[in-house]
Symmetry: C2
Subunit: 165 residues, 2 copies
Protein backbone atom coordinates (compact mmCIF):
# COMPACT_ATOMS: atom_id res chain seq x y z
CA UNK A 1 0.00 0.00 0.00
CA UNK A 2 3.11 2.18 -0.01
CA UNK A 3 2.70 2.94 3.70
CA UNK A 4 6.01 3.18 5.51
CA UNK A 5 6.50 0.85 8.49
CA UNK A 6 9.61 -0.05 10.41
CA UNK A 7 11.45 -3.32 10.06
CA UNK A 8 10.43 -4.51 13.50
CA UNK A 9 7.02 -5.65 12.27
CA UNK A 10 8.50 -7.76 9.52
CA UNK A 11 10.84 -9.36 12.00
CA UNK A 12 7.92 -10.09 14.33
CA UNK A 13 6.08 -11.84 11.50
CA UNK A 14 9.13 -13.95 10.61
CA UNK A 15 9.75 -14.68 14.26
CA UNK A 16 6.27 -16.20 14.55
CA UNK A 17 7.04 -18.58 11.67
CA UNK A 18 10.44 -19.62 13.05
CA UNK A 19 8.99 -20.08 16.54
CA UNK A 20 6.23 -22.26 15.09
CA UNK A 21 8.88 -24.45 13.40
CA UNK A 22 10.90 -24.71 16.60
CA UNK A 23 7.84 -25.79 18.60
CA UNK A 24 6.99 -28.55 16.11
CA UNK A 25 10.59 -29.78 15.85
CA UNK A 26 11.09 -29.57 19.62
CA UNK A 27 8.06 -31.75 20.33
CA UNK A 28 9.10 -34.30 17.72
CA UNK A 29 12.65 -34.29 19.04
CA UNK A 30 11.52 -35.01 22.57
CA UNK A 31 9.57 -38.03 21.35
CA UNK A 32 12.28 -39.28 19.00
CA UNK A 33 15.18 -39.05 21.44
CA UNK A 34 13.22 -41.14 23.96
CA UNK A 35 12.83 -44.06 21.52
CA UNK A 36 15.17 -47.04 21.37
CA UNK A 37 15.92 -49.25 18.37
CA UNK A 38 13.05 -51.63 19.13
CA UNK A 39 10.46 -48.85 19.53
CA UNK A 40 11.64 -47.18 16.33
CA UNK A 41 10.87 -50.40 14.44
CA UNK A 42 7.15 -50.13 15.33
CA UNK A 43 4.64 -49.09 12.68
CA UNK A 44 2.38 -46.06 13.24
CA UNK A 45 -0.60 -48.25 12.29
CA UNK A 46 -0.85 -51.82 10.97
CA UNK A 47 0.89 -52.01 7.58
CA UNK A 48 1.97 -48.33 7.71
CA UNK A 49 5.40 -46.69 7.99
CA UNK A 50 7.78 -47.57 10.82
CA UNK A 51 8.83 -44.74 13.14
CA UNK A 52 12.36 -45.47 11.88
CA UNK A 53 11.23 -44.62 8.35
CA UNK A 54 9.48 -41.44 9.52
CA UNK A 55 12.57 -40.20 11.35
CA UNK A 56 14.65 -40.92 8.26
CA UNK A 57 12.05 -39.26 6.05
CA UNK A 58 11.83 -36.08 8.12
CA UNK A 59 15.63 -35.91 8.43
CA UNK A 60 16.06 -36.30 4.66
CA UNK A 61 13.31 -33.79 3.82
CA UNK A 62 14.75 -31.23 6.23
CA UNK A 63 18.27 -31.90 4.91
CA UNK A 64 16.97 -31.09 1.42
CA UNK A 65 15.95 -27.67 2.70
CA UNK A 66 19.60 -26.55 2.77
CA UNK A 67 19.91 -26.57 -1.05
CA UNK A 68 16.22 -25.74 -1.55
CA UNK A 69 16.51 -22.57 0.53
CA UNK A 70 19.97 -21.74 -0.81
CA UNK A 71 21.60 -22.33 2.59
CA UNK A 72 24.23 -24.92 1.66
CA UNK A 73 24.68 -28.57 0.79
CA UNK A 74 22.89 -31.60 2.23
CA UNK A 75 24.59 -33.18 5.23
CA UNK A 76 23.19 -36.72 4.75
CA UNK A 77 22.51 -37.27 1.02
CA UNK A 78 22.48 -41.05 1.62
CA UNK A 79 19.06 -40.69 3.30
CA UNK A 80 17.30 -39.57 0.10
CA UNK A 81 17.06 -42.99 -1.56
CA UNK A 82 15.79 -45.03 1.41
CA UNK A 83 13.51 -42.37 2.94
CA UNK A 84 12.27 -40.05 0.17
CA UNK A 85 12.56 -41.75 -3.21
CA UNK A 86 11.46 -45.16 -1.93
CA UNK A 87 8.70 -46.38 0.40
CA UNK A 88 9.37 -48.04 3.74
CA UNK A 89 10.98 -51.47 3.47
CA UNK A 90 12.31 -51.08 -0.08
CA UNK A 91 15.92 -50.46 0.99
CA UNK A 92 17.92 -51.28 4.15
CA UNK A 93 18.30 -48.56 6.79
CA UNK A 94 21.73 -47.01 6.14
CA UNK A 95 22.20 -45.70 9.70
CA UNK A 96 21.88 -47.28 13.14
CA UNK A 97 19.20 -45.91 15.45
CA UNK A 98 21.76 -43.81 17.33
CA UNK A 99 23.28 -42.51 14.10
CA UNK A 100 19.85 -41.66 12.73
CA UNK A 101 18.87 -39.77 15.88
CA UNK A 102 22.17 -37.87 15.69
CA UNK A 103 21.52 -37.02 12.02
CA UNK A 104 17.99 -35.82 12.87
CA UNK A 105 19.35 -33.53 15.60
CA UNK A 106 22.25 -32.21 13.57
CA UNK A 107 20.17 -31.41 10.48
CA UNK A 108 17.50 -29.59 12.48
CA UNK A 109 19.87 -27.64 14.69
CA UNK A 110 21.99 -26.44 11.75
CA UNK A 111 18.93 -25.70 9.63
CA UNK A 112 17.27 -23.74 12.43
CA UNK A 113 20.45 -21.70 12.97
CA UNK A 114 20.65 -21.00 9.23
CA UNK A 115 17.05 -19.79 8.89
CA UNK A 116 17.36 -17.67 12.03
CA UNK A 117 20.06 -15.69 10.22
CA UNK A 118 17.79 -14.81 7.26
CA UNK A 119 16.48 -11.25 6.98
CA UNK A 120 12.82 -10.58 6.08
CA UNK A 121 13.96 -9.61 2.58
CA UNK A 122 15.78 -12.93 2.20
CA UNK A 123 12.70 -14.83 3.38
CA UNK A 124 10.76 -13.29 0.50
CA UNK A 125 13.35 -14.22 -2.11
CA UNK A 126 12.71 -17.17 -4.38
CA UNK A 127 13.65 -20.70 -3.39
CA UNK A 128 16.06 -22.55 -5.68
CA UNK A 129 13.49 -24.81 -7.35
CA UNK A 130 11.65 -21.97 -9.07
CA UNK A 131 13.03 -20.14 -12.12
CA UNK A 132 13.50 -16.37 -12.27
CA UNK A 133 10.71 -16.21 -14.86
CA UNK A 134 8.23 -18.20 -12.79
CA UNK A 135 9.11 -16.28 -9.64
CA UNK A 136 8.50 -12.98 -11.45
CA UNK A 137 4.99 -14.24 -12.27
CA UNK A 138 4.35 -15.65 -8.81
CA UNK A 139 6.43 -14.06 -6.02
CA UNK A 140 4.64 -16.19 -3.42
CA UNK A 141 7.06 -19.01 -4.33
CA UNK A 142 9.52 -17.74 -1.75
CA UNK A 143 11.62 -19.23 1.05
CA UNK A 144 8.90 -18.61 3.63
CA UNK A 145 6.31 -20.59 1.65
CA UNK A 146 8.68 -23.59 1.57
CA UNK A 147 9.44 -23.24 5.27
CA UNK A 148 5.76 -23.12 6.29
CA UNK A 149 5.04 -26.09 4.04
CA UNK A 150 7.82 -28.10 5.70
CA UNK A 151 6.60 -27.10 9.16
CA UNK A 152 3.15 -28.45 8.25
CA UNK A 153 4.76 -31.60 6.83
CA UNK A 154 6.57 -32.22 10.12
CA UNK A 155 3.30 -31.66 12.04
CA UNK A 156 1.55 -34.09 9.69
CA UNK A 157 3.97 -36.88 10.61
CA UNK A 158 4.01 -35.85 14.28
CA UNK A 159 0.31 -36.71 14.33
CA UNK A 160 1.25 -40.23 13.25
CA UNK A 161 4.03 -40.60 15.82
CA UNK A 162 1.66 -40.16 18.74
CA UNK A 163 -0.46 -43.13 17.63
CA UNK A 164 2.31 -45.53 18.66
CA UNK A 165 2.09 -46.61 22.26
Amino acid sequence: MGEQVDMASEEMLINAAVTSWKIVIGRLDKGIQALGEEQLQRQVAPGKNRLYYLVGHLTAVHDRMFPLLGLGEKLYPQLDEPYVTNPDGALPDPLSADELKKAWSEVNSKLTAAVEALTPREWLQKHTQVSDEDFAKDPSRNRLAVFLSRTNHASFHAGQFVLVK
Copy 2:
Protein backbone atom coordinates in the same frame (compact mmCIF):
# COMPACT_ATOMS: atom_id res chain seq x y z
CA MET B 1 16.43 -2.33 12.83
CA GLY B 2 14.58 0.90 12.09
CA GLU B 3 15.04 0.45 8.33
CA GLN B 4 12.08 1.75 6.36
CA VAL B 5 10.36 -0.76 4.12
CA ASP B 6 7.06 -0.62 2.31
CA MET B 7 3.93 -2.43 3.44
CA ALA B 8 4.05 -4.85 0.54
CA SER B 9 6.66 -7.03 2.25
CA GLU B 10 4.55 -7.41 5.38
CA GLU B 11 1.58 -8.38 3.27
CA MET B 12 3.70 -10.95 1.42
CA LEU B 13 4.73 -12.51 4.74
CA ILE B 14 1.13 -12.68 5.96
CA ASN B 15 0.00 -14.01 2.61
CA ALA B 16 2.40 -16.95 2.98
CA ALA B 17 0.84 -17.85 6.34
CA VAL B 18 -2.75 -17.59 5.07
CA THR B 19 -1.90 -19.58 1.94
CA SER B 20 -0.33 -22.27 4.11
CA TRP B 21 -3.56 -22.48 6.15
CA LYS B 22 -5.68 -22.66 3.01
CA ILE B 23 -3.57 -25.51 1.58
CA VAL B 24 -3.90 -27.56 4.79
CA ILE B 25 -7.64 -26.92 5.12
CA GLY B 26 -8.24 -27.53 1.42
CA ARG B 27 -6.57 -30.96 1.54
CA LEU B 28 -8.47 -31.94 4.66
CA ASP B 29 -11.72 -30.70 3.16
CA LYS B 30 -11.26 -32.78 0.03
CA GLY B 31 -10.79 -35.89 2.17
CA ILE B 32 -13.63 -35.11 4.58
CA GLN B 33 -16.27 -34.27 1.97
CA ALA B 34 -15.61 -37.62 0.26
CA LEU B 35 -16.42 -39.60 3.42
CA GLY B 36 -19.83 -41.07 4.20
CA GLU B 37 -21.30 -41.80 7.61
CA GLU B 38 -19.84 -45.31 7.73
CA GLN B 39 -16.33 -44.22 6.77
CA LEU B 40 -16.42 -41.40 9.32
CA GLN B 41 -17.05 -43.97 12.05
CA ARG B 42 -13.68 -45.64 11.38
CA GLN B 43 -10.79 -45.16 13.80
CA VAL B 44 -7.47 -43.75 12.60
CA ALA B 45 -5.74 -46.71 14.30
CA PRO B 46 -7.04 -49.50 16.55
CA GLY B 47 -8.45 -47.93 19.73
CA LYS B 48 -7.77 -44.37 18.54
CA ASN B 49 -10.11 -41.50 17.61
CA ARG B 50 -12.79 -41.96 14.98
CA LEU B 51 -12.61 -39.71 11.92
CA TYR B 52 -15.99 -38.40 13.08
CA TYR B 53 -14.39 -37.22 16.31
CA LEU B 54 -11.48 -35.63 14.46
CA VAL B 55 -13.80 -33.68 12.15
CA GLY B 56 -15.78 -32.52 15.18
CA HIS B 57 -12.56 -31.67 17.02
CA LEU B 58 -11.09 -29.64 14.18
CA THR B 59 -14.40 -27.86 13.59
CA ALA B 60 -14.71 -26.97 17.28
CA VAL B 61 -11.09 -25.85 17.59
CA HIS B 62 -11.37 -23.67 14.49
CA ASP B 63 -14.71 -22.31 15.71
CA ARG B 64 -12.96 -21.25 18.93
CA MET B 65 -10.60 -19.15 16.84
CA PHE B 66 -13.36 -16.58 16.22
CA PRO B 67 -13.38 -15.42 19.87
CA LEU B 68 -9.68 -16.23 20.37
CA LEU B 69 -8.64 -13.98 17.48
CA GLY B 70 -11.27 -11.35 18.32
CA LEU B 71 -13.22 -12.04 15.12
CA GLY B 72 -16.65 -12.80 16.54
CA GLU B 73 -18.64 -15.48 18.32
CA LYS B 74 -18.51 -19.23 17.89
CA LEU B 75 -20.95 -20.65 15.32
CA TYR B 76 -21.26 -24.15 16.84
CA PRO B 77 -20.67 -23.93 20.61
CA GLN B 78 -22.37 -27.31 21.04
CA LEU B 79 -19.28 -28.98 19.58
CA ASP B 80 -17.00 -27.97 22.47
CA GLU B 81 -18.21 -30.52 25.00
CA PRO B 82 -18.19 -33.63 22.79
CA TYR B 83 -15.07 -32.82 20.75
CA VAL B 84 -12.73 -30.67 22.86
CA THR B 85 -13.53 -31.06 26.56
CA ASN B 86 -14.17 -34.81 26.32
CA PRO B 87 -12.41 -37.71 24.60
CA ASP B 88 -13.97 -39.72 21.80
CA GLY B 89 -16.92 -41.85 22.89
CA ALA B 90 -17.71 -39.96 26.10
CA LEU B 91 -20.72 -38.11 24.66
CA PRO B 92 -23.06 -38.76 21.72
CA ASP B 93 -22.36 -36.99 18.42
CA PRO B 94 -24.68 -33.94 18.38
CA LEU B 95 -24.73 -33.59 14.58
CA SER B 96 -25.39 -36.02 11.73
CA ALA B 97 -22.53 -36.67 9.32
CA ASP B 98 -23.98 -34.25 6.77
CA GLU B 99 -24.56 -31.59 9.42
CA LEU B 100 -21.02 -32.04 10.73
CA LYS B 101 -19.49 -31.71 7.27
CA LYS B 102 -21.58 -28.59 6.72
CA ALA B 103 -20.38 -27.14 10.06
CA TRP B 104 -16.75 -27.93 9.15
CA SER B 105 -17.11 -26.12 5.81
CA GLU B 106 -18.97 -23.15 7.22
CA VAL B 107 -16.55 -22.55 10.10
CA ASN B 108 -13.49 -22.75 7.87
CA SER B 109 -14.86 -20.62 5.05
CA LYS B 110 -16.02 -17.85 7.41
CA LEU B 111 -12.82 -18.02 9.44
CA THR B 112 -10.64 -17.86 6.35
CA ALA B 113 -12.59 -14.85 5.05
CA ALA B 114 -12.22 -13.14 8.44
CA VAL B 115 -8.45 -13.63 8.68
CA GLU B 116 -7.97 -12.54 5.07
CA ALA B 117 -9.38 -9.15 6.10
CA LEU B 118 -6.76 -8.61 8.84
CA THR B 119 -3.97 -6.12 8.23
CA PRO B 120 -0.34 -6.94 9.15
CA ARG B 121 -0.70 -4.65 12.17
CA GLU B 122 -3.78 -6.54 13.31
CA TRP B 123 -1.98 -9.88 12.91
CA LEU B 124 0.64 -8.66 15.37
CA GLN B 125 -1.91 -7.57 17.96
CA LYS B 126 -2.53 -9.76 20.99
CA HIS B 127 -5.00 -12.59 20.93
CA THR B 128 -7.82 -12.48 23.47
CA GLN B 129 -6.44 -15.10 25.87
CA VAL B 130 -3.42 -13.03 26.87
CA SER B 131 -3.63 -10.03 29.21
CA ASP B 132 -2.33 -6.58 28.30
CA GLU B 133 0.39 -7.00 30.93
CA ASP B 134 1.58 -10.36 29.65
CA PHE B 135 1.45 -9.18 26.05
CA ALA B 136 3.59 -6.16 26.92
CA LYS B 137 6.21 -8.58 28.28
CA ASP B 138 5.91 -11.02 25.37
CA PRO B 139 4.58 -9.48 22.13
CA SER B 140 5.04 -12.81 20.34
CA ARG B 141 1.68 -13.87 21.82
CA ASN B 142 -0.11 -12.38 18.84
CA ARG B 143 -2.82 -13.47 16.43
CA LEU B 144 -0.32 -14.87 13.95
CA ALA B 145 1.23 -17.17 16.56
CA VAL B 146 -2.22 -18.65 17.29
CA PHE B 147 -2.98 -19.00 13.60
CA LEU B 148 0.29 -20.83 12.83
CA SER B 149 -0.28 -23.07 15.83
CA ARG B 150 -3.76 -24.00 14.61
CA THR B 151 -2.44 -24.62 11.10
CA ASN B 152 0.07 -27.08 12.56
CA HIS B 153 -2.68 -28.64 14.67
CA ALA B 154 -4.79 -29.25 11.55
CA SER B 155 -1.75 -30.77 9.79
CA PHE B 156 -1.14 -32.99 12.81
CA HIS B 157 -4.60 -34.52 12.53
CA ALA B 158 -4.41 -34.61 8.72
CA GLY B 159 -1.49 -37.03 9.15
CA GLN B 160 -3.84 -39.30 11.09
CA PHE B 161 -6.66 -39.07 8.54
CA VAL B 162 -4.54 -40.56 5.76
CA LEU B 163 -3.90 -43.74 7.78
CA VAL B 164 -7.53 -44.80 7.26
CA LYS B 165 -8.06 -46.78 4.07
